[in-house]
């Protein structure tokens, strides 16, 4: 059984993010790169499946990122993933969701897979669209927002989170899922994992290795970022002066009703 986890490398979530007005891309220099926090849950889900399945199940990390991302990929290996594929090429710069999914699908097909596990979203571009697009390019069932997953032979059973509950679904393998936080806290890498990570393979992959039929990178992008704007500053909180607790409670209830929260 071969599980592939897709991880994105993102600027440190605590750092101030800046967009370069000319290229309309995120400025990544001078900011520490980390594993997309949502992808730590994807790694956790894959490792849980591996722990349960035991011998013969491997977890491969696949990422499309600059070569400098190697060190961050090692963290995923230290957590317990077996090996990694780092897809890196200047020609990939400026890829949109379509291009990213297209190139990643080719890389994943090349390495082979029974199950692909994605995070639900990145913390930088946050489109949350990649898992769906990737399933499409891979030509396999895609179950997004999974909170619980089980493998029975060649069938996958999952619970998909919805706004007001969850759906029980199943599909045959090979398949793709994206997992939510509910899958469980991501484990810490152990020291043994850290010391062992340097012995694990991070296989480099370039566009030449993929021999894609369609252009990717900024040339192949189907979307164009036209403008970027700061979100409006949060409005000041409303202060209500009341005579007593009863009136205060009523004011709060009225406010919540007005917002259709109750």
């Amino acid at each position: 059984m071969k599980i592939v986890v897709t991880v994105k490398l993102v600027p440190d979530t605590n750092a101030d993010k800046r967009i370069d007005p000319a290229s309309k891309r995120l400025v990544r220099t001078g900011v520490e790169t980390v594993l997309n926090p949502f992808d730590e849950y994807a790694i956790e889900a894959a490792l849980q499946l591996k722990d349960k399945a035991g011998e013969g199940t491997t977890v491969t990390v696949v990422t499309m990122a600059p070569e400098s991302g190697k060190e961050v990929v090692r963290k995923a290996l230290a957590m317990g993933c077996d090996d990694a594929v780092l897809l890196s090429d200047d020609g990939l710069a400026g890829s949109d969701v379509w291009g990213t999914a297209y190139a990643l699908a080719a890389a994943i097909k090349k390495s082979g897979f029974d199950l692909v596990v994605c995070g639900t979203q990145s913390t930088d571009a946050i489109t949350g669209e990649l898992p769906g697009a990737l399933a499409e390019f891979l030509g396999v069932p895609g179950l997004t927002y999974v909170r619980k997953v089980e493998l029975n032979g060649t069938t996958l059973a999952a619970e998909r989170e919805t706004d007001n509950g969850y759906l029980k679904v199943s599909c045959p393998l090979p398949a793709l899922i994206s997992v939510t936080k509910s899958i469980g806290e991501a484990r810490y890498p152990s020291l043994k994992g850290i010391m062992g990570a340097k012995k694990k393979t991070i296989a480099p992959l370039t566009l030449a290795d993929l021999a894609l039929d369609a252009p990717v990178g900024s040339v192949g992008a189907k979307t164009e970022v036209l403008a970027l704007a700061q979100p409006p500053a949060r409005e000041k909180g409303k202060v209500v002066h009341v005579a007593d607790g009863a009136e205060g409670a009523r004011a709060i209830v009225d406010f919540l009703k007005e917002k259709k929260l109750i």
Partner: protein, 382 residues
């Protein structure tokens, strides 16, 4: 010269930082108040491989270097000194003698479970009447019919009485040379030994959640092969252990000061007086600059000593200098940290008040400031 950490060192540092922030820090105040030993945190540190950090994998350790060890202790101490000393004493004092002086059988029996963090072990040098003058040991062990009979008392022994402590390695007089000078040897005494008892934990000013006890030996009998290392080398071996131990206590001091600095920086920006954050007053800014400067100074000293040790060079002078400077540095830094907090810094619910109490032992344990100066002067040839 290269100031870059290796990938592993960076990864271990960031793992410990995350672990300390998420698992240790939230517990620190309650642990200090209840003085309850953190069994769960020891278990978690064991699962991460921290309890056997520098020992080879074949003995259940993680095979990391001394620089990583110093970084790990710093990060844990940044969150809580009690947890940090539990780790540091376990690695540098409890386990290290087996690694350095143990026979293969002793390593298998003791070092393996210690490195896995399944068991703790004490290092029993200090006695009520023999502190700085560690050679003044009065505990005796007599070899009769293939068994040692131990009599005496040890004071202030860390990790010696927890539910998972396996025993304590002690110094004891095992004879006298032809000139009548005592011959001191090390014996590994298991917890279940009849005649070996532990008092309740001391009530302490700081390091309150760490386990520190007085040990008594009344005709406590241990087998002949409880001897650790060479007969007569006991004091020499323990002093060698303390050379390495200084790196970890120094790292603990640096970590504690880093924690006090973190708190102070955040507090100074949040606390308003005279219509602005107190961090806008130059008097407070300069304190913060001085704190950071001193922390950086001490940190470099600790890392240099650790680096020398990793390279197999003589690190004794560097470790002593680092221990002395870091201990006194942490005193100045926690003092300013409380000062920056004003009256709130005197309140239990602010971490700096605990750090202020936790700091003092850094200038006493594993060689007082005065003894550290003596060691340095001796190394200078004075």
């Amino acid at each position: 010269m290269d100031f870059h950490f290796t990938d592993e060192q960076k990864a271990i540092q960031s793992l410990c930082r995350e672990f300390a922030r998420d698992e240790v820090k939230p517990r620190a105040e309650e642990m200090d108040a209840s003085a309850a030993f953190p069994y769960d945190l020891v278990k978690k540190m064991a699962a991460l491989g921290l309890m056997g950090l520098p020992f080879p994998e074949e003995y259940g350790g993680s095979g990391a270097d001394t620089v990583s060890y110093a970084l790990a202790v710093m990060e844990i101490a940044r969150a809580d000194a009690s947890t940090a000393i539990t780790l540091a004493a376990h690695v540098s004092l409890g386990s290290m003698p087996f690694y350095l002086f143990g026979t293969e059988a002793q390593k298998q029996k003791y070092l393996v479970p210690l490195a896995r963090g399944e068991m703790l072990w004490g290092f029993g040098l200090t006695e009520p009447q023999a502190g700085s003058d560690a050679g003044g040991t009065r505990t005796r062990a007599e070899l009769r019919d293939g068994r040692w009979t131990v009599n005496g008392t040890k004071a202030f022994i860390t990790n010696s009485g927890t539910d998972i402590t396996g025993g304590t390695t002690i110094t004891a007089i095992t004879g006298h040379d032809e000139r009548g000078r005592p011959e001191i040897s090390n014996l590994a005494v298991e917890q279940a030994t009849p005649g070996f008892t532990r008092a309740k934990t001391y009530r302490k000013m700081g390091w309150r959640a760490s386990d520190t006890r007085e040990l008594s030996f009344a005709d406590a009998e241990v087998p002949e092969d409880a001897l650790l290392g060479r007969r007569g080398d006991g004091l020499k071996q323990f002093l060698q252990i303390l050379d390495g131990g200084r790196i970890s206590v120094a790292a603990l001091s640096v970590g504690l000061a880093m924690g006090a600095f973190d708190e102070s920086l955040a507090y100074a920006q949040a606390r308003h007086q005279f219509g602005k954050p107190i961090s806008k007053f130059q008097a407070i800014q300069f304190k913060l600059a001085d704190m950071l400067c001193q922390i950086e100074h001490a940190k470099l000293m600790v890392l240099k000593a650790a680096w020398e040790k990793d390279r197999g060079e003589d690190f004794v002078m560097s470790a002593s200098l680092a221990k002395l400077f870091s201990g006194e540095m942490s005193h100045r830094v926690v003092n300013e940290a409380v000062q920056i907090h004003g009256g709130y810094g005197f309140m239990d619910e602010y971490p700096v008040s605990r750090m202020y109490r936790d700091q003092k032992i850094n200038e006493i344990g594993e060689g007082t400031n005065e003894i550290q100066r003596l060691v340095i002067c001796r190394l200078m040839g004075l």
